[in-house]
């Protein structure tokens, strides 16, 4: 039995890395696509088999511990070398830190710590592995079709498509390794390796903008990686070589350092700028690394730490930082008209919400964090893929240009509508998560306030966007757009997954999220928080079905009552000019045809990015500093 488990781990971590490595060697296109399918399918199958096996600890061969100790400084040296190549002294200095720490541990004599290398398969890592493998696998399939088109008009400076896809596939393995390992050194290695993947993929275009964004991403994430390396050094000095043993200790410094690492990875304020820069990368990268998986490594780490934050001020501050990020990022997204940047800000906000819940320390809060983690991964990946498809067709990612796409590309738009609805409409999972988060934070007034303000602001940009893409004049015939079968099938599969997940919200809540959260937090549950957790179950019973029924009936009745003969042109303060293409041209002064046009509100004078950054970044920095302040008090 143990043997099969080890094979599964190999399939989850090594196979994708191997496939990616071969693809980087400029193989023909056919073999390349075959390797992607092979890597993706293997991880999906292995993750499901692993999940069916339940939770377990597996001790791997002790030599892996030594390998980790050797590899850690090597990865540091690699980043150092890249830092030299892109002429950033700061990156060099930070990446040199693991080298120095290895030296220090060699001198102090606890270099090759004898602790066996353990893989912890518990419910949290299983949830993460399933997200990474299934959502990630689907995104790599999508990337086959996307890159086919993208390569045709890519810039001459761009990276070769094979290497690009290779890094994307290899990333799946690295990410699986990150969430499965319990060894602190391996955690640091995988952490830094995912940073490198992100760096390579953001720099894909090779243009000045993408190079700068890649450099910034590397800088900020190396800072986080260095924090993690220092944390693991400090923990090892105290005799804790694994994450699980660290969590039983009462040492606060490693926890605070890890919290900072998780904040930088999850692009929380004040580290958010790298994620916005990362939006220059092709859409599959944004969907895979920068919304559904890599940034979730930050959320994963903070959720791992959560049980250890019992009755510490640290937990409160992590929670505050998260809630603050949620409110500030939601406010900033209002002024954005670039679809990908809106999605990026919304991602930052939701990751903040997860961190806020992780610090609250109750079963309900943990359940809320898990709900958001799972549903956000699927919905946001789907939305990024939709924006990518739309961009390839209409040539723009600006929200204002997306009017009328319902007619031009009905399939993608329908899927996008489902995706957006799933972010804010009852009874979809995200809203259930937000609902639980608000109820869980009811004893923390400050966090509660930030969550309330943030969730009100999110209505603004989603409804604006949803209104824009459903704008349509009447066309009697819809032609399904021509996109690659790889892309359209993945969009359909994921759209259906979002719909079924909302139908299955009750079973998911009852049989997955609640037991997981109780297994982590059962002993901390106060009576009220447990009863609130039960009330989630109660709501998801009949009211959920009624809500779903109301949506279904309205859509059916609404569409059935519609007749073509009922169509009239909108009132435009003048006689309409009847053209086949546009119905918003009217006769203005002296009978000249004019076009009626109204852009959405962006309120940049109130919610302008720079304006809010100027206020919020300093506050966020203060929160990070206070994270360390509470340790030394």
């Amino acid at each position: 039995m143990h043997e099969t488990r080890e094979w599964l781990l190999g399939g989850l971590v090594l196979i994708p890395i191997l496939c990616g490595g071969i693809m980087a060697a400029r193989v023909p296109k056919g073999i390349r696509n075959l390797l992607i399918v092979l890597g993706g399918m293997t991880t999906i199958a292995c993750s499901i088999l692993l999940a069916l096996g339940g939770t377990q600890r597996i001790a791997l061969h002790p030599s892996l511990g030594i390998a980790g100790a050797v590899l850690e400084p090597l990865v540091g040296a690699l980043v150092c070398w890249i830092g030299l190549r892109i002429r950033s002294r700061l990156i060099c200095a930070m990446a040199a830190m693991p080298l120095l720490l290895t030296l220090a541990s060699l001198l102090t004599g606890n270099w090759a710590h004898t602790a066996e290398t353990v893989v912890v398969i518990d419910s949290l890592s299983l949830v993460m592995v399933l997200i990474i493998s299934i959502v990630g696998g689907l995104i790599t399939f999508f990337a086959i079709g996307y890159m086919d088109q993208h390569e045709q008009h890519s810039t001459p400076t761009a990276m070769d498509g094979g290497s690009f896809l290779g890094v994307l596939v290899a990333f799946l393995g690295l990410m699986n390794g990150l969430v499965l390992t319990d060894d602190l050194r391996w955690l640091t290695i995988f952490w830094e390796a995912t940073t490198l993947c992100s760096f390579l993929l953001i720099g894909y275009e090779g243009s000045l903008e993408s190079n700068n964004s890649a450099r910034r991403a590397l800088l900020i994430n190396t800072f986080g990686g260095t924090c993690l390396a220092v944390a693991s050094f400090v923990a090892e000095r105290d005799g804790h070589g694994t994450l699980s043993s660290l969590l039983t200790s009462s040492a606060l410094l490693p926890l605070a350092l890890m919290a900072v690492a998780s904040m930088s990875k999850a692009a929380q304020l004040p580290f958010q700028s790298w994620l916005l820069g990362a939006m220059v990368a092709p859409t599959p990268v944004s969907a895979l690394l920068h919304s559904s998986t890599m940034v979730k490594a930050g959320s994963y780490l903070v959720l791992r730490l959560a049980p250890a934050l019992d009755a510490t001020v640290l937990g409160g501050i992590i929670s505050l930082a998260g809630a603050f990020t949620f409110a500030a990022a939601s406010a900033m997204s209002i002024s954005q008209s670039n679809g990908k940047r809106v999605l990026a800000y919304s991602t930052i906000a939701n990751l903040g919400l997860i961190a806020a819940c992780a610090g609250i320390h109750s079963p309900l809060a943990f359940a809320a964090a898990l709900t958001i983690l799972i549903f956000h991964a699927v919905s946001k990946a789907l939305l990024f893929l939709c924006v990518g498809t739309i961009e390839q067709t209409i040539g723009s990612r600006h929200i204002e240009d997306m009017g009328g796409i319902l007619f031009k590309m009905p399939l993608t738009t329908t899927v996008a509508i489902i995706g957006m609805a799933s972010m804010m409409v009852p009874p979809f999972g995200m809203l259930i998560g937000k609902w639980m988060a608000i109820e869980a934070s009811v004893d923390n007034p400050l966090i509660l306030l930030l969550l309330i303000l943030g969730s009100a602001l999110t209505i603004f940009f989603w409804s604006k966007w949803l209104g824009r893409i459903t704008t349509a004049s009447y066309h009697h015939k819809y032609t399904i757009e021509k996109v690659s079968i790889w892309m359209s099938s993945i969009l359909l599969i994921m759209g259906l997954a979002v719909l079924t997940a909302s139908l299955g919200a009750l079973p998911i809540q009852r049989y997955v999220i609640k037991p997981v959260s109780l297994s982590f937090f059962g002993q901390y549950g106060t009576r009220t928080s447990l009863s609130l957790l039960d009330s989630v179950d109660a709501f998801l019973g009949w009211p959920l079905l009624v809500v779903l029924g109301a949506i279904l009936i309205s859509v059916l009745v609404g569409s059935a009552l519609f007749r073509k003969s009922h169509i009239r042109l909108p009132y435009l303060c003048g006689e309409n000019v009847d053209t086949p293409e546009y119905s918003f041209i009217f006769r203005s002064i002296a009978d000249t045809p004019s076009m009626a046009l109204l852009n959405s509100y962006y309120l940049s004078r109130v919610f302008g990015e720079q304006r809010i950054e100027m206020i919020c970044n300093p506050i966020a920095i203060l929160i990070v500093i206070s994270l360390f302040g509470v340790i030394f008090q």
Binding site: M424, W435, I452, Y474, S535, P570
Partner: protein, 284 residues
């Protein structure tokens, strides 16, 4: 006390609530007219309006618009049911918010600048009042120890005494939801406020009737929400709600329109801080 069968209760609500709402709307028009020195329409005028609209030829701009109208109606009725059956208060708010959102999206999905302006203003209003309503629910939780909307009814003291400042803030929200001046900027009931109708301009005939019926549900819902502040006695609760509605009519006739950004600022400073102060002493 006899607890009626929930199915019976739901059926009764769905059937009777619009009539109740229409009656309130009719009284509103009558009283407003008297305040302006007019005789005004008969009290039953809103019924006649809806009846006539329903018999008219359906006119639409596109298919989605119709779907949104039905979503608006269905979710409004649903939120009323959740409220009266005493379900979870935050979930009630989300369903209620989605109903308004469907109305907004219905206005946005047509290529009419007037309708779009109305929609965007309505979104601004939603963002402005939503925090106050959530704070109301948090206040209810702190007072009654439960998120269920049934809990205020079981409470011994009327919520008006424990949440007085929130009550004031909710009155402002009431003005926004009833489209009363100074907050009737998305669309108005009065001809003197706008030259061209906002949000609902592209709805006509039976589909406009659907929006009207949804508004009747909304009136009933808001009436019940105010009644919750004195839930121990049905009569006093109803009197309180009547007084609140009367106050709205006075405000409607006294004020002129605000701009949307001004409304937003007013709600996030004035009304929100007022209700937060109320929460603050409940935490202490």
């Amino acid at each position: 006390m006899i607890t009626p069968n929930p199915t019976f209760q739901i059926a009764l609500l769905i059937l009777l609530a619009p009539f109740f709402g229409a009656l309130i709307a009719g009284l509103d028009r009558k009283i407003t007219a008297r305040m302006q020195g007019r005789i005004g329409p008969p009290v039953l005028q809103p019924f006649y309006d809806v009846m006539k609209l329903l018999r008219k030829e359906p006119i639409v701009v596109n298919r989605i618009q119709v779907v949104y109208a039905f979503l608006h109606l269905a979710f409004m009725a649903l939120s009323l049911i959740l409220l009266v059956l005493g379900q979870d208060s935050l979930m009630f708010l989300f369903v209620f918010a989605f109903s308004t959102l469907a109305l907004v999206l219905g206005g946005m999905c047509v290529r009419s600048p007037y309708s779009r302006i109305g929609s965007q203003r309505e979104i601004m209003l939603m963002v402005a009042y939503e925090p106050v309503l959530i704070v109301l629910m948090i206040g209810m939780y702190l007072v009654n120890g439960s998120f269920l909307l049934a809990s205020p009814i079981a409470a011994a003291r009327p919520m008006l005494f424990t949440l007085p400042l929130i009550f004031i803030a909710v009155l402002v929200v009431l003005a926004i939801k009833l489209q009363k001046s100074p907050f009737d900027l998305a669309t108005s009931h009065h001809a003197h406020q706008e030259i061209i109708k906002g949000l609902t301009i592209e709805y006509a005939g039976p589909y406009l009737a659907i929006l009207e019926i949804a508004h009747f549900y909304e009136i009933a819902l808001l009436f019940y929400l105010i009644m919750l502040f004195w839930a121990s006695s049905l009569l006093i609760g109803a009197l309180l709600a009547c007084a609140a509605f009367f106050l709205m009519i006075i405000a409607d006739n006294v004020f002129a329109r605000l701009t949307s950004i001004w409304t937003f600022r007013f709600m996030w400073t004035g009304a929100l801080i007022l209700s937060l102060t109320n929460i603050l002493w409940l935490y202490l």
